[in-house]
Amino acid sequence: MPSAFQYTDSPDPIRPDLADSYRRAWSHLAAPGTWLTGAERVAVADETRRARNCAVCRERKAALTPFAVDGEHDHAGVLPAPIVDAVHRLTTDSGRLTERWYRSLLEQGLTPEVYVEVVGVSVLVISVDRFHHALGLPPESLPDAVPGEPTRERPDGICEGEAWVPMMTGRRVSAEVRLPAPTAPYVIRALSLVPAELKAWQDVSAAQYLAPDQMLNFGNVRAISRSQIELVAGRVSRLNDCFY
């Protein structure tokens, strides 16, 4: 994606490592994934953007409980209903998702592997789009899908029962992403059922936040100080009703 993320009209200079990571993210997004084709992955990205203008999602967000409001999402008509629902709720009201809702998606035929890949693609787009939104920049056009088949490779050594989704062990993830700790925290393990998605978000996260080897270095690595980083991080989490 050499022509994407040029930022020639941005009033604020964008760090080259951020633009580079976004270009890699767009290439990853467009390519055949582990369980989804490139076309399906771009459709998930498109649905993620549609969710912000979905009338049902707005009504649910305003309701005392999101599960009391029935209705069909405003969707593009490309993806199966469970994927559409996963993308829309994840995008617009993630703080009120429940394990019961997740299990209901599985009962509708979604596999944990596809669900994790959908989450990975959706949050990748959200992180890039919200950066643009925060700086008043227009969203980057979605890439054209690359033809080909998904790899359908499920990693060995997956454990169940610690979270809703199956994950790799903390030790294995720590080794895979080269963390400076013997075991990886849950938030890094969360997408490890689909390692390609874990690696993609780690790549963008290293530019937007910190690389793994910078996590325990509380000195300053950017213009923004570590305390300032964590203040913004904590406030964004609080505003999203996230306990983590």
Partner: protein, 148 residues
Amino acid sequence: MLRASIQYSGSDADVSGIAEGAKAGDAGIEHGERLTAFADAAVTGDDAELATARDALRVVAGSEILVDAAAVVGNFERMVRIADGTGIPLDNVVSAMTSDLVEELGLDALESRRESKAGPLATVFRPVLRGVLETGFRIAGWRNRRSG
């Protein structure tokens, strides 16, 4: 992580900006008020509010910090959804470090916390683990400042 960075830096800052946003003022963190106003506007504000908060942060802190802050917003708009969407529990270390913040930040009221499974080790070893971690952050920061 904010608390750890404060302990490391040896400052008298506090974490009230997370719960109260710009109402907490700077809370001991340089440009804290403008940063939380920007975060609020980026997550919940309309275009006009966001433009105002962005301009205000740029004026006091400059473009580099503005861009860095926007990147952190993007990152944590993703992180919260990964945590919420996969039903991960709090790690023992995080739980130990934040047990007293749960009430202060009103986290027990959150649906996402009720849906999260608690790590059992955190409850048993929380006081010891927290003491070790806090001391470690302070010593590391003191050594860093001393070495210049």
